[in-house]
């Protein structure tokens, strides 16, 4: 698949790689994949998703299938909330935790008619595979990595559903949030879900790698006169940040547990799973730190690793995990971990940005919520 003579020979390509190159996208190494960072400008692509629609290649995301008689029990032993008993077509956000409660990955679990699909972060795919495999002893469940045999795209924005419906049929527009179903398109089975990572309405779709370019092109043709833009990883990051969504490697790591990250909704402490006991202990005494939103007074960007200080003290109290200049809100925003005593909305803090303090205010997450009318 890759040219052994090229400098990027070691990088994986999605089936859309040539399309991106042809479009003049700027491609970067992301978690071992050669992926589009941007086609035009991050800010233009961001606005397209907020006002019309954006089409994202998310083929790098891991797609792991679990099947067999014990599939449900096996999965439930490892995820932070009950997934085994979901009705067919249901999708849930969940986390995998280690026995200290630290986060191994955050995933979407799909209940398909005869199996489960786990969509994990690209960078974590080898680790998640190892983790799942290591817990598979004594159980009758198969584990198949379908990432490179399939392709995944995201179509997001207020006009995403009408574009998807024109190509994939009305069943797609009738999907409820966090539900998915297979539809037949051009003789190919397409798994479509009402999910995304932008804070907008929209869909994600998974198809066999052979059909990737045809499906992508059909959506592109259907949308390009309606303001649809191809959007890269740069816009994906600014969009998810405005939407207050955690990104593994930033807001989530093996050292950060889901409760500290404010993801209680995805953790069921009444269910037994690896990490549950540690998380119960954390829940009982209350997490020491918590994830907050920061709104900066300056236009400068507080990036991952920037130290956080009280408004009137020189003791470092926390650290920024992600930050950007919000194209929608036109101000500098960030997420950070701070002690709970500094987490109240309105608390004034200071952030050390490249050697200079900038003032900031704790604000509620998400930074951006889409207007109700486009909620579908």
């Amino acid at each position: 698949m890759n040219d052994p003579d090229s400098a990027n020979a070691a990088l994986l390509h999605t089936p859309l790689h040539d399309w991106h190159v042809h479009q003049g996208a700027r491609l970067v190494d992301f978690a071992g994949w050669h992926m589009p960072l941007q086609y035009t400008s991050i800010i233009a692509e961001h606005h397209a998703v907020r006002t019309a629609a954006g089409l994202f290649d998310v083929g790098h995301m891991g797609r792991l299938e679990i099947a067999g008689p014990d599939a449900a029990a096996f999965l439930d032993r490892l995820v932070t909330r009950r997934c085994g008993d979901m009705a067919t077509g249901r999708i849930r956000y969940a986390l995998l935790t280690n026995d200290r409660g630290g986060t191994i990955d955050d995933v979407l679990v799909y209940r398909l008619p005869d199996r489960f699909l786990v969509v994990c972060n690209a960078a974590n795919r080898p680790r998640v595979l190892r983790w799942l495999d290591a817990h598979r002893e004594q159980v009758s469940a198969t584990l198949t990595d379908r990432t490179e045999a399939t392709f995944m795209l995201a179509l997001q924005g207020p006009r995403a559903l009408e574009i998807a419906r024109d190509v994939l049929g009305s069943a797609v527009a009738a999907l409820r949030y966090y539900h998915g179903r297979s539809v037949v398109w051009d003789g190919q089975s397409v798994l479509v879900s009402r999910t995304g990572y932008t804070g907008e309405d929209g869909i994600e779709a998974i198809v066999d790698a052979d059909a990737a370019l045809a499906l992508w092109s059909a959506l592109w043709e259907a949308g390009r006169n309606r303001g649809l833009m191809p959007a890269g990883l740069g816009a994906r990051d600014t969009l998810r940040l405005e939407a207050g969504m955690p990104l593994y490697g930033h807001e989530l790591t093996e050292k950060i547990d889901p409760l500290t990250a404010g993801l209680e909704f995805a953790v069921d402490l009444d269910k037994d799973f690896v990490g549950r006991d540690a998380l119960r202990t954390i829940a009982e005494r209350g997490p020491q730190r918590t994830r907050v939103g920061l709104s900066l007074d300056s236009r400068r960007i507080a990036r991952q690793g920037c130290a956080v200080f009280p408004a009137d003290g020189n003791e470092r109290i926390g650290e920024v995990t992600s930050g950007t200049f919000s194209p929608t809100l036109q101000r500098s925003i960030a997420m950070a971990y701070v002690p709970r005593s500094f987490a109240e909305t309105g608390t004034r803090l200071r952030v050390d940005i490249r050697g200079r303090y900038e003032t900031a205010t704790v604000c509620p997450l998400p930074f951006y919520r889409r207007p109700r009318s486009s909620n579908g």
Binding site: S41, I42, I43, G234, R299, I301, S332, R354
Partner: protein
């Protein structure tokens, strides 16, 4: 300004000389690499600077970087409009996108800067 008639620093500033005053900006390559500039901080008029000093900051969604003056002297003028509207940086980096002017105390410093061919080669190496 003609991109082939100005001189370049390794840190991607360009310098155009008119008498003892140098006009300094950011190269087209650097602007393209940064993309989507979100913040720009310029030096103050009257500030005494030495070649290699950090005299400003430029930030984009992707990265933040210092702006260095390639020449020593006194800052005599800054491009205030560009610090409020960054479009000129991308649209016209060698013209309306200029950043500041320095009355040089040591004009020979300009001779140590790269010409366009050398700068292009420098950028090619950085991209690898």
């Amino acid at each position: 300004m003609d991109p082939s008639a100005v001189r370049y620093a390794e840190t991607h500033e360009w310098v155009a000389v008119d008498g003892d005053v140098a006009t300094v900006g950011i190269s087209d390559f650097a602007v393209r690499e940064l993309n989507d500039v979100t913040y720009l901080e310029l030096p103050a008029v009257g500030q005494q600077v030495k070649a290699g000093d950090s005299v400003g900051v430029i930030e984009s969604v992707k990265a933040a970087s210092d702006i260095y003056t390639p020449v020593s002297g006194e800052i005599v003028e800054v491009n205030q409009p560009v610090s409020e509207n960054f479009d000129a940086l991308a649209d016209d980096p060698f013209g309306a996108g200029w950043l500041f002017r320095v009355r040089m105390s040591n004009p020979e410093e300009v001779d140590r800067l790269m010409d366009r061919a050398a700068y292009d080669e420098h950028c090619r190496r950085q991209q690898q």
